[in-house]
Amino acid sequence: MSTPHPRDGGVPILRLGDVLVTGLLNELDDKSAMAFTDELTERIVSDAARGVLIDISRLELVDSFVARMLMELTTMSRLLGARVIVAGMRPAVAITLVELGLQLTGVETALNAEAGLVALGWQRMPQPPGEAPRDSLR
């Protein structure tokens, strides 16, 4: 798998202005996680992104590997000049993480993708022409 190119069957990374929006799916193995990290860091540089939103509302289980990956992604992105927000963590996942003692130190979180985008400076139009920029992930 040559890295910078899109992974097979992976989650798309969308660009909204200077924000990259992506997500993680439940079936996340080590290999696809590495590929995701590679692609995301490449995209931050190539798209000159200042913010990254990672939606994890589809993740039903976060183990120490994924937790570490999220923390590393945050650090990497910060080094590349982008701010990462992890959005949409499920209650059960949050409880598990706390019980495992994984606090995701340094990772910013948001309740859902919308809140995350707002935190990244995305503004809802006062009068949305046509479609409102609401995400449909909730």
């Binding site: 409880i95 706390v98 130190t105 979180t109 309740l111 859902n112 809140a115 990244l120 400076g121």
Partner: protein, 293 residues
């Protein structure tokens, strides 16, 4: 041994069948005389119980289950004893009264056996058998009572758990959990689950945990609070703790518990003000502890 036991058993069974009415009457009278029933059970009900139990005893003795295991493994007999003690427990009888009542059946039975034989050896064997049988029944009735009680206690503590952790919506995007009573691991779990779910459902930005009703904060309780706060933050909301009374502030400081990463207030009103201010901000980046890259 086994042959003699069989004979004794047959003798007992005969006595039981022949003098069924007599034994039942005698037992009812004994119980009424004892007057330790603890409840008003009428003679009619007692008589009904007696008939049922004696019939079950007869059926049990007629089966080939050994006497030692008769009460434990003979289904009908066991059920009859359990029903009897449950009925009395519900009527408010003490467990002692119920088991004594069951044990007083011994006397009635032995009197009946006495009429069938005069041989002291045989009488002794019969007494041993009756003792074994009814001691087990008495113990079972006691056990049933305790089990019933345990069940009630368990149910009540579950109810208490659910009742004591309501999540209320105070403002747009602001939730509050008034905690009452001591925080232990189980309750923390329930509080956490309820709170996180409510945060998701209400899209809350701030959760206020009010600990006015928590009598004392020790290291364990503080640990549980920290866990909850961290879980709330992972969800992308903010957490404020309110209702810290002066004595509690003193204990926290004296124990050296570090709550410095948590926003705390002394009253719920202050916390609500702070929460509303937090939600008024256009964007709410969660104030995580800064991490070195």
């Amino acid at each position: 041994m086994s042959t003699s036991e069989t004979t004794v058993r047959d003798r007992l069974l005969d006595a039981l069948r022949e003098r069924e009415q007599e034994i039942a009457d005698r037992w009812v009278r004994l119980q009424l005389e004892q007057s330790t029933l603890g409840v008003d059970l009428g003679e009619y009900e007692l008589r009904e119980e007696a008939d049922l139990l004696i019939a079950a005893l007869g059926a049990g003795l007629a089966s080939d289950v050994p006497v030692r295991q008769l009460v434990a493994s003979q289904h009908e007999l066991r059920r009859t004893v359990i029903e009897l003690s449950l009925r009395r427990a519900r009527a408010g009888a003490t467990p002692t009264a119920t088991s004594l009542a069951v044990l007083s059946l011994k006397e009635a039975l032995l009197e009946a056996v006495q009429h069938t034989t005069a041989d002291s050896r045989e009488l002794f064997d019969a007494a041993v058998l009756v003792n074994r049988l009814l001691d087990a029944a008495g113990a079972l009735s006691f056990e049933t009572y305790v089990e019933g009680r345990e069940e009630i206690i368990q149910r009540q503590s579950n109810q208490l758990m659910e009742l004591s952790t309501p999540v209320v919506r105070l403002w747009h995007h602001v939730l509050a959990v008034p905690l009452i009573g001591t925080l232990d691991t189980a309750r923390t779990q329930v509080v956490m689950e309820n709170l996180l779910q409510a945060i998701q459902d209400n899209e809350a930005r701030v959760a206020i945990i009010d600990i006015t009703g928590v009598p004392a904060v020790d290291t364990a309780v503080a640990q549980h609070l920290m866990h909850t706060v961290n879980a709330v933050r992972l969800m992308g909301a903010d957490c404020v703790i309110s209702g810290i009374r002066p004595p509690i502030a003193q204990t926290i400081a004296q124990l050296g518990i570090d709550l410095s990463t948590i926003l705390t207030h002394s009253t719920l009103a202050d916390a609500l003000t702070a929460a509303v201010r937090l939600t008024d901000q256009p964007s709410v980046p969660t104030p995580h502890a800064p991490a070195g890259p």
